[in-house]
């Protein structure tokens, strides 16, 4: 626990908590910061799979979108408690993730990527064409959730602190996980799955467990989204969104936890900045991804190694 919660992470977190006090933080920037931290946290939970276990999920958008829908459906029907939304999202995403992880972790490598992708497409197609959930328009204009009693999370500032708490707890959970015995087994599976099996570990059970944890963290993140945007649309679950999550992890650096948070934030800010100047920002993002895969496979956090021989745990 001590090692899990390093002082460095705490300082960064505290600085993020002071961010809204800056004079130029308008509502617009607060919402941008919300997105940056939310997608950073989601990229971090994807990193549990990609960086630590060596499984690429091309279906995380479905976990995210299902969480968002679960929350939006309740809010639309007048259930305004944030906790009810979160619980419902965990239930829905958990059931779906159970099925997906059971089938996809039975296979290796490319099959995992493709199976998660196909399952996510099923969910996308379902919501895209089911009129109960608004079809392609999704669920629009839902009210803000209530934290306790009548305390509504209806301002960008309150939402920002909510996502900050989520990020902090998710980081703590992931950090504890990867430094534990469980995390070591995951790395062993990534390095040599057969050897891990010969050592007596039930590899599939470990893979399923980490897939579930990653999916639930992503689903909780999704459940927070309608509170900020007041909608949930099928486009949140497009497989290209899953691809964007992967890009965030790659930008930040595989297997570092903190890296993908930076990567997610960087991605959101880059998209915002570039798209305000030109409308071809996807070319920029594509080129950034290609550049990183070719020349910086360790991502942004890999730069640290160039700066000096500082001790830093990259991969557990």
């Amino acid at each position: 626990m001590n090692r899990a919660l390093s002082w460095r992470a705490l300082i960064v977190w505290a600085m993020l908590a002071l961010l809204p006090a800056l004079p130029f933080m308008s509502k617009f920037y607060l919402l941008l910061a919300f997105d940056a931290l939310l997608f950073g946290a989601i990229a971090m939970s994807l990193d549990l799979l990609m960086g630590y276990t060596g499984l690429v999920s091309f279906g995380h958008a479905a976990f995210f979108g299902l969480g968002a829908y679960a929350s939006a459906v309740l809010l639309e029907r007048g259930v305004l408690s944030l906790w009810a939304c979160l619980a419902f999202a965990i239930l829905v995403v958990g059931l779906y993730a159970l099925v997906v992880s059971f089938f996809s972790t039975a296979r290796r490598g490319i099959y995992v990527a493709l199976l998660t992708l196909i399952f996510a497409e099923v969910v996308y197609t379902f919501f895209r064409y089911t009129q109960t959930f608004g079809g392609s328009d999704g669920i629009q204009g839902v009210p803000s959730p209530r934290l306790i009693g009548e305390f509504a999370l209806d301002t960008p500032l309150r939402n920002y602190y909510l996502v900050l708490v989520y990020l902090g707890l998710a980081y703590l959970a992931c950090r504890v996980l990867v430094t534990s015995h469980f995390g070591r087994v995951l790395v062993a599976i990534r390095e040599n799955e057969d050897r891990a099996r010969f050592l007596g570990y039930n590899v599939q059970r470990y893979k399923m467990a980490v897939c579930m944890i990653s999916a639930l963290l992503t689903g909780v993140g999704g459940a927070l989204y309608p509170g900020r945007s007041a909608f949930a649309t099928p486009d949140l679950m497009l497989w290209t969104v899953s691809g964007e999550f992967i890009i965030m992890v790659m930008i930040g650096g595989l297997g570092t936890l903190a890296g993908p948070v930076v990567g997610g934030a960087f991605f959101v800010l880059l998209q915002e900045k570039v798209s305000s100047y030109v409308d071809w920002y996807f070319i920029v993002i594509g080129l950034v991804l290609i550049f990183i895969v070719l020349f910086m496979p360790k991502g942004l956090l890999g730069i640290r190694e160039l700066l000096g021989p500082r001790r830093w745990r990259t991969t557990a």
Binding site: F103, L117, L289
Partner: protein
């Protein structure tokens, strides 16, 4: 009987036509997967570029046939350049990086096409119209041509892989690239040329299908998912399996539309794939230990 002739038979032919074209797309995908271990996410964009390159050539020359010749060559060249500059440096790394890289390529190609040709839907007129009486119904000539052309191409590819030295080299590289390298074959060149060939095939499929479907920058995104399903169903890296699976999916898609609305069909196709994978985890012709 009327039902068979008026409804079932045309739909069956539609399925064959679509399956043959899908086969062209999936073949390139499965060969690249066998060679590089990379599932090419940009394959759908090469398919899309083929259609747009065809439109560009037709705008200059007004000839569909010339476009059918030039577009695959142009897209093949793009494929070759892409392979040399981006995929070649990744040979020695894990295939995962290649997969992610092709996703980046897909983004660039898709947005590039939108910038050059705009985002709106376009149609290509078929080079000839009219229809032929066939088994008591009439069927559009262009679709018959499409079926014939795709089938001839599939046959030619099969002959290429079984009867020519170049084709055998590619299959040898799928089996064991290191050994082939040891025997003195320039393996990177085999990889590059195969990638170019697979890009050209995708482009050809894109242009051939363009008069039947519509052309827009996102058109590859939908096709690539079907092509992925085909490759998985056929068994990773199995070329024959891919072609058979392409026909299965083509027929299933067109026959199911008779009884279901399109979104149900999409889900039914996914369901077919999931069931097949549970019963036969390696698809129709995937062998244990191959590419795993």
């Amino acid at each position: 009987m009327d039902y068979v002739v008026a409804v079932l038979l045309p739909q069956l032919l539609h399925g064959l036509v679509f399956g043959a074209a899908l086969g062209l797309l999936a073949l390139g995908l499965t060969v690249i997967f066998g060679l590089l271990g990379v599932m090419n996410f940009a394959h759908g964009e090469l398919y899309m570029l083929g259609a747009y390159a065809g439109i560009a050539v037709m705008g200059l020359t007004h000839s569909f046939w010339l476009a059918l010749l030039v577009a695959p060559v142009a897209v093949g060249a793009i494929g070759a350049v892409t392979e040399v500059t981006t995929l070649r440096p990744l040979y020695r790394r894990e295939p995962l990086y290649g997969l992610i890289l092709t996703f980046g390529l897909a983004l660039v190609f898709r947005e590039g096409a939108r910038q050059i040709w705009g985002g709106d839907m376009r149609r290509i007129l078929p080079p000839f119209t009219g229809s032929t009486p066939l088994l008591g119904m009439t069927y559009p000539n262009y679709r018959l041509f499409l079926l014939a052309a795709s089938s001839v191409l599939l046959l030619a590819i099969w002959l290429f892989f079984t009867r020519t030295r170049a084709g055998i080299l590619v299959r040898a590289a799928v089996q064991d690239a290191e050994m082939l390298d040891g025997l003195g074959v320039n393996v990177p060149r085999v990889f590059t040329l195969t990638f170019a060939g697979s890009a050209a095939l995708a482009a050809l499929a894109g242009l051939l299908l363009a008069p039947v479907f519509t052309v827009y920058p996102q058109m590859g995104v939908e096709m690539i998912l079907l092509a992925f399903i085909v490759v998985i169903l056929g068994g990773m890296g199995s070329m024959g399996g891919s072609v058979i699976a392409a026909f299965v999916i083509g027929l299933a898609q067109s026959l199911l539309t008779l009884w279901m609305n399109p979104q149900r069909v999409a889900i039914a196709i996914f369901a077919i794939m999931i069931v097949v994978l549970i019963v036969r985890p390696r698809g129709f012709f995937g062998r244990e230990g191959v590419l795993e």
